[in-house]
């Protein structure tokens, strides 16, 4: 019997998660379609997608709760279907909606879960105290879980996921139903765990994932549409922001002039006071249009009172990627 503390060195070396061509079918519905990705140790990866995109399905397959229809999934080098036991020993999984035994006290529950996950009596006791401390639950450790607020219950779920010192922590929608304060607290908690732990979490709230994850996988209709570090994703589209300008000029001349700009895909003019026009200029590529606009205005003698770039946020990418919008294709 191997325990998390006596891992084989070979299993330690490789990536913690390897998913290759995973499919999952529910009857006729294809919930997960040809998903492949790897997660290295120490990463915090966010699985992001609208509701029903297949996030929970992927996480359930990873935690050896149910099998995929086809494809291979390995956690810490172990196959989730053939070596499910070894996989379960190495993961701490918190399902969506975080089901708990509401008739137990917090510490009691954690000890029970520790024992269930193969810790000895003394070890589960000491680990329960450690995770209680870690998750800020010490002062409610004797309270019944049923009487706890949603935020505290979420922490109990996380403490449960941590108790047997798993190599990989899988959290399905960990902040759903929390208020902004609780979300912030939970996020900070996750951040303190990062570094020593590999965490895979899912969310349909982009901000959430952006704040906590070192890498984001955006998933839609069972497929991974784009992946990368949040900063990277933003970088890749940084130049693609639209230019906003306010120019004082004669309408038709202005429009004609702007349309001449190389690299312009689309421009929208709306009249403002005193012959000023509010112009939204969308570039064709990742080029920054501001210098060209400035030059044009100077050449024509137009008065330019505002020139700015509205960078696309990750939220824009997410919305575009997951609404089937063609506009942003080719960034993957």
């Amino acid at each position: 019997m191997d325990t998390p503390s006596t891992r084989t060195p070979s299993a330690d070396a490789g990536p913690i998660i390897e998913v290759a061509h995973l499919h999952r079918r529910y009857g006729r519905h294809l919930a997960v379609a040809d998903v492949s990705f790897t997660v290295e140790r120490g990463e915090i990866v966010g699985l992001l997608g609208p509701n029903g995109a297949g996030k929970s399905t992927i996480l359930r397959i990873l935690s050896a709760y149910m099998p995929g229809t086809s494809g291979t999934v390995k956690v810490a080098g172990y196959d989730v279907t053939r070596e499910a036991h070894a996989v379960r020993r190495r993961i701490g999984y918190m399902p969506e909606n975080n089901p708990l035994h509401t008739d137990l006290r917090v510490r009691e529950y954690l000890k029970f879960r520790g024992r269930l996950k193969g810790l000895g009596i003394r070890r589960s006791r000491s680990r329960a105290d450690v995770v209680l401390e870690q998750c800020g639950l010490t002062h409610v450790s004797r309270q019944m879980i049923g009487t706890l607020s949603k935020g505290y219950r979420q922490r109990v779920g996380l403490a449960d996921a941590l108790i047997h010192e798993p190599e990989l922590i899988i959290l399905d929608e960990p902040t759903i139903g929390l208020d902004p304060h609780q979300i912030r607290a939970f996020r900070n908690l996750l951040r303190t765990l990062g570094g020593d732990h590999t965490i895979l979490l899912s969310s349909h709230i982009l901000h959430e994932v952006e704040m906590t994850s070192t890498r984001v996988l955006i998933i839609n209709e069972g497929r991974i549409v784009v992946s990368g570090a949040p900063a990277d994703l933003r970088q890749r589209i940084a130049g693609a922001g639209e230019v906003l300008a306010e120019i004082q000029a004669e309408g038709t001349a202005l429009e004609a002039g702007l349309r001449e700009l190389a690299g312009l895909r689309e421009c929208v003019l709306s009249p403002m006071e005193e012959d000023y026009w509010h112009c939204r200029l969308m570039p064709r590529s990742t080029e920054d249009l501001r210098p060209a606009v400035h030059e044009l205005a100077a050449r024509q003698g137009w008065r330019l009172r505002e020139l700015g770039l509205r960078r696309l946020t990750l939220e824009d990418v997410f919305v575009h990627m997951t609404s089937g919008d063609e506009e942003m294709e080719g960034w993957e």
Binding site: Y26, G27, R60, S63, A64, Y65, M66, P67, H85, R88, R89, I91, Y93, M94, P95, N97, P99, L100, H101, D103, L104, F112, R113, R115, L116, K117, G118, D160
Partner: protein
Amino acid sequence: MTAWWTLLRRELGAYLLSLTGYVILTAVAFLLGVGFTLVVLAYNGDSLTVPLTELFYSTLFFWLILLVATPMITMRLFAQERATGTYETLMTCPVGELSVVLAKFAAGLLFYTVMWIPLIVCLLIVHRYTAEGTAFDWWPVASTSLGILLMGALYVAIGCLASALTRSQIVAAILSFAIGLTLFLLSFAEYSLGPRGGWLADAARYVSMLDHMEDFVRGVVDTRRITFYLSLTFLFLFLTVKVVEGRRWRRST
């Protein structure tokens, strides 16, 4: 083994931490008490020609408790965990399906056993207030207890299967009650088939729980009866394990 023991303790705790557990215990204690009182009143002062256990068994209460209380005990075992979602946290622990099923079965059977304690108390009262050697004999009490235990094991196993099949506790209770009642009603097939029933009547006699219990309360311990209950219990537990395994590998929700 550790997982089994941990789960068993948790399951027993769940009975004792919930109101349902106490309601069942109280209701059964009440029914047993009523049955006992009726027996005592009916034979007040008369001398008994048969063991006391047989008298008690011939009241309806005995079968009522077996048929109605067992589904109530077992309905929550799997169905509740699936409804609340804790089934998912349980099944993503390094715990085998067999341990889970055996822990739940053992917890159900233990609770069932505890439920019968008032009967033993009733018999002890008789023992205390009757002259030595008249109404009370230890052997029929022991064999009756064995019979109650064996039947309970079978009915708890049936309840496990029913609970594993659905996420609704009500459906689980109805299902196990239906299976249990069918099995019980087979006892009467022997009489319906009549003397010319042939091998069917023989088969019916073999599975007749009424006949089995009649033996047990008279102090007759027949290995055929023991084999019958144990093998059926194993069958239903085996089916439960298969259902739980099957769910793990072919889940649709």
